[in-house]
């Protein structure tokens, strides 16, 4: 073989070996470096794994703690004095019924609360249908920690019993005046709340002021007028923590669109006897004007920690002007279509609640009245003959103008936080008039109701 050829082959071999060596060395280095990286990565100890898992669980729990589900179901059996009794103890009895089982309320509430924002949705399911009770958001400002803004459907900030939870009330139902004036307890609107922080001397003072539709929780608004509701409340305890007391004043300034052009108010004739007199016909001007709806309220509560058990006394008084119809003084939840009847009213309730030592037993006595029309009494209700100037347009008062008083006696057995049984008897007395013979109100109507209720709460 010629020398040049031998040299070329040798060089080729050397190059081949060189490339092979380089490749092998590169691959080896790569493998070694991977091993080195693996060797340098710290091995996670069981403690680290556990700590990581616990931290994740803590984060999850922290989030879940912001969400709360609560609610209650009130199942009851009732016996009325007579078939078809009209009742504020859970609604009228149908014409052929004097005994009934009823799911009075089944409320399911979901709340998200992160300390700054609260979002609440609460529905009520019963034989009367499904209704929204609450659907609101509440924002609490964090700088001064004094103000919060609530918007949506929520409790009207008026008085005490309206806002007091139905699940906590000792009597099965709120007082008649609350059911008539503030049906459904809630309304749709926006409210500003002022309360100083915990460490302030003024923390017991709470001021709420809001603007609402005035139609309750179930209806959309039907007039242009918005209602203002406000209250100032003070709640505190004495130094020995044996007495808790609270006092509040409330104001409702609203209105209801008149259904027709005719508005009737109470006016005395020459003998001093009142009936409805048409005081204006707004057909020529101001048709669809707003009839004033104005309430003034004062409420107080005091609880004593006596050796024989905690005693609670509560009272609330409301008076004012209520626009209604000829047949009803209830606040409307739909656009009125009839003439407007303006009534001056007053009402009150008084509670006496006694816990028997620290046992599960509790007794309650409640007295309330609602006088739908304070300008007419007893045998003047339904009167048809008056001494007014000729041409005066008058309307007769009727059953919607009667005064009702209710005395309730109850016994409650609290099994635990989730279950309580209530036995309660409502004795209703109505104002009587000999001019209301056809409607049966010439005597006390048989409308007492016995309620036996089981409340399941979670």
């Amino acid at each position: 073989m010629p020398n040049k050829l031998i040299n070329l082959n040798t060089t080729k071999m050397k190059l081949k070996n060189y490339y092979l060596l380089t490749f092998t060395f590169t691959m080896l280095s790569l493998c070694l470096s991977t091993l080195t990286v693996k060797a340098q990565a710290p091995e996670e100890t069981p403690i680290d794994t556990l700590a990581r898992a616990v931290n994740k669980m803590a984060d999850d729990i922290s989030f879940l703690k912001k969400i709360k589900f609560s609610g209650y179901i009130q199942s009851q059996f009732q016996v009325a004095d007579s078939m078809g009794a009209k009742s504020f103890a859970g609604g009228d009895f149908p014409a052929t019924v004097d005994k009934r089982f009823k799911v009075r309320r089944a409320e399911f509430k979901t709340m998200y609360d992160n300390g700054k924002v609260q979002v609440v949705a609460n529905i009520n399911v019963s034989q009367d249908g499904v209704t929204i009770k609450d659907a609101y958001g509440k924002w609490s400002e964090q700088r001064l920690k004094m103000f919060s803004l609530t918007a949506g459907i929520f409790n009207r900030p008026f008085g005490f019993e309206n806002s007091y939870s139905s699940g906590s009330l000792e009597s099965p139902e709120r007082a008649r005046m609350i059911q008539v004036l503030l049906p459904g307890e809630r309304d749709c609107g926006a409210m500003l709340t002022f309360q100083m922080p915990n460490n302030s001397a003024l923390h017991p003072l709470k001021i709420e002021a809001g603007v609402f539709n005035g139609t309750g929780n179930a209806a959309n608004d039907f007039d242009y007028y918005k209602d203002f509701i406000g209250n100032i409340h003070w709640t505190s305890t004495n130094k020995s923590e044996k007495i808790k007391y609270a006092l509040g004043v409330s104001f409702y300034d609203g209105g209801v669109r008149q259904g027709t052009s005719k508005v009737y108010s109470m006016k005395a004739d020459s003998n001093g006897i009142n009936t409805f007199v048409m005081n204006k016909d707004t057909a020529t001007s101001g048709y669809g004007a707003i009839a004033k709806r104005q309430y003034y309220g004062i409420d107080g509560q005091v609880s004593f920690d006596f050796p024989f058990g905690i005693t609670t006394l509560r009272a609330e008084y409301i008076a004012g002007t209520q626009p209604g119809t000829s047949s009803s003084s209830s606040s409307p939840s739909a656009l009125p279509t009839g003439d407007t009847y303006i009534r001056k009213f007053n009402g009150a309730y008084f509670y006496f609640v006694q816990n028997i030592f620290q046992t599960k037993h509790q007794i309650v006595v409640k007295y309330d009245w609602y006088d739908a029309n304070t300008d007419v009494k007893e045998n003047n209700v339904g009167l048809t003959k008056f001494a007014y100037a000729s041409g005066t347009l008058t309307k007769t008062t009727g059953t919607a103008d009667l005064k009702y008083t209710t005395l309730g006696l109850g016994y409650i057995y609290k099994v635990d936080n989730n279950l309580k049984f209530t036995l309660y008897y409502d004795m209703v007395t109505n104002e009587k008039s000999t001019f209301l013979t056809s409607s049966g109100y010439w005597k006390d109507v048989k409308d007492n109701v016995l309620t036996i209720r089981a409340q399941y709460k979670f």
């Binding site: 302030s200 923590e241 808790k244 905690i310 635990d416 936080n417």
Partner: protein, 270 residues
């Protein structure tokens, strides 16, 4: 196999039955932990878990029935009583020891004694500088416990005459945090239970008779009741768990349990 299953089930049942939860006051926490430790040594079947969080947290857990014993450095409030009543839960209150509440300042502070009125002035924000009460020209930095603490409530009621804390008061989540902050801040003042006393801070003498007599907090002055800022420490429990908790509570009230009270730095009942 069957025997083993029965044995496992039995041991689980007995451990659950002898398990107790104690929750609440951070002031009572070290005492309860020591008492629980001593009790479990002597009663090996028993398991007691002790957690803090504040007197308010413990009593709220009692209302929710998520603790067997709520430890508290203040009396139960009217709202808490009403919540228990609403839940149909009867409860009992037991005083287990006393605690001397010490007012502490930084070791470099030349003030060594104050009247109750001066303390009220400091914590309500009326007195803002140490020079107003015989000290150096130095702003007073006030430390307090959080509002869920029984110590916070007791101090407000008994030293401040139920007047409210100034908004400038700094809230600390635990007693240990107050000790640390006061020890590191020259113009600081705070309050702690006697059991938490350390050399890094100085306890002030207190007068409740407008400066006639000043008394320093100590076990001796707490026992003979010459030190005026003494408070009872409580255990609250529901009647329904009395059978479970009574043996432990009886131990705490026994001579041996009260000896532990003194060892930990609290004042025994007798």
């Amino acid at each position: 196999m069957k025997r083993t299953s029965i044995l496992i089930a039995l041991s689980l049942y007995t451990s659950l039955n002898f398990a107790q939860k104690i929750k609440g006051s951070d002031t009572v926490l070290p005492l309860s932990q020591k008492e629980a430790e001593m009790y479990m040594k002597a009663n090996k079947m028993n398991k007691i878990t002790v957690t803090g969080g504040g007197s308010g947290v413990g009593l709220a857990a009692l209302v929710d029935n998520t603790t067997d014993i709520a430890m508290s450095s203040r009396k139960i409030k009217m709202d808490e009583k009403m919540k228990l009543q609403d839940a149909g839960r009867a409860y009992k209150e037991v005083t287990i020891a006393y605690d001397a509440l010490s007012v502490i300042v930084n070791n470099d502070n030349k003030v060594s004694q104050l009247t109750r009125e001066q303390l009220e002035g400091i914590f309500t924000g009326k007195v803002k500088n140490w020079k107003e009460i015989g000290g150096d020209d130095l702003q007073i930095v006030v430390y307090s416990r959080e509002s869920s603490s029984g110590t916070y409530e007791f101090f407000k009621e008994h030293v401040m005459n139920k007047k409210n804390y100034a908004s400038s008061v700094l809230s600390m989540p635990a007693t240990g945090a107050i000790v640390q902050s006061v020890s590191q801040t020259k113009g600081a003042i705070g309050y702690i239970g006697l059991a938490y006393m350390e050399k890094s801070v100085k306890a002030l003498k207190v007068s409740y008779d407008a400066g006639k007599t000043f008394v320093a907090p100590s076990m001796a002055t707490a026992k003979d009741k010459t030190y005026p800022v003494i408070r009872p420490l409580y255990y609250y429990y529901l009647n329904t768990v009395e059978k479970t908790v009574k043996p432990f509570i009886d131990y705490v009230l026994s001579a041996e349990g009260q000896k532990t009270v003194e060892q930990v730095g609290y004042v025994p009942l007798k």
